[in-house]
């Protein structure tokens, strides 16, 4: 039972990534968008090589959430365009496993985007990104997981709905604000002139808690919501 769940999730993820490796469409567009978001902010905010305190953490997370929304909308748009989501859902497998596979594929993409984003933030905003690499990676991984867990569910729900492009951010941002708060505050605690490690630790713990809730809720609602 558990074995088949992971096998299905693995196959769905591999399918998504194979398509992506061939076209590179989502990765390249998302990456370019994320970089331009950071650049726009740096033009607007950085003066003489210095940015106000705490700004770098905020912009890092704004870029992650903007480009994440773009990526999840695109991956599901591809399924809708080819009408393959129906085929996926008709397959004799657990629906939650399909959700998990989609989520994993999205996470791989976003991880690649973040690998480019973090050094860029360090460069443009003078943020000490290498001071605590382990904690920063934990914050990014957990925050992206919580954000993408809700986003994958909502993007899947919206596939059949009119005006899905505008509705996805409208629904997603209010719900994922706690994750954003934790991500931004935790990262800001690491980027400060005198890093506040207990604070960062606290936000990492809170993120674990949220991720558990969000993923459980998403696995639980995916089945009834995707049934026609």
């Amino acid at each position: 039972m558990i074995g088949s769940f992971f096998r299905v999730a693995w196959h769905v993820m591999r399918k998504d990534l194979t398509v992506e490796v061939r076209s590179k469409e989502v990765l390249l567009t998302t990456l370019f968008f994320a970089v331009s978001v950071v650049l726009v902010f740096s033009f607007a905010i950085v003066r003489e090589g210095r940015a106000p305190d705490d700004v770098a953490a905020g912009i890092l997370w704004v870029a992650v959430s903007f480009s994440g929304t773009l990526a999840m909308a695109r991956t599901f748009e591809r399924e809708r365009y080819n009408d393959t989501l129906r085929a996926l859902l008709l397959a004799p497998s657990d629906r939650p496993a399909i959700y998990a596979g989609k989520l994993l594929g999205l996470l791989v993409l976003l991880a690649l985007v973040e690998i480019v984003l973090v050094p860029l933030i360090g460069l443009l905003f003078n943020a000490p990104v290498l001071a605590y690499p382990g904690r920063l990676a934990a914050l990014l991984a957990l925050g992206t997981l919580g954000f993408a867990a809700v986003g994958t569910l909502f993007a899947a729900m919206l596939v059949r709905v009119r005006s899905r492009d505008t509705l996805l951010p409208v629904l997603l941002y209010p719900i994922t604000i706690p994750v954003m708060i934790a991500g931004v505050r935790g990262t800001a605690a690491l980027f400060q002139a005198t890093p506040d490690l207990p604070m960062a630790q606290f936000w990492i713990g809170l993120l674990v808690f949220w991720d558990v809730i969000f993923i459980t809720l998403a696995l639980w609602t995916f089945e009834p919501v995707m049934t026609e």
């Binding site: 207990p198 558990v212 809730i213 459980t216 809720l217 639980w220």
Partner: protein, 88 residues
Amino acid sequence: MRFSRLLLLLLVLAPAGWPAAVHARQPPPQSEFLPVSDIPEGEQIPAFTMVGGAYGFVWVVLLGYVWSIARRLQKVEAELTALERRGQ
């Protein structure tokens, strides 16, 4: 399945107990807000305007909402009776 739902419910309800736990490690609150009397004379707004404004706003919103529901309900019920008559 039933058990997993119960577990989820517990998980969802658990954070209700969190604020207390968080309070313990919270730094002492900073007071960056001025008491009213310290605000310069020119920025003071008479309390009466505020209270009157609040009451007026509550009244207007509630009346408007009652009116909007009544109108929508009337429209739908008229449509319903027309449809039912046509069906018979």
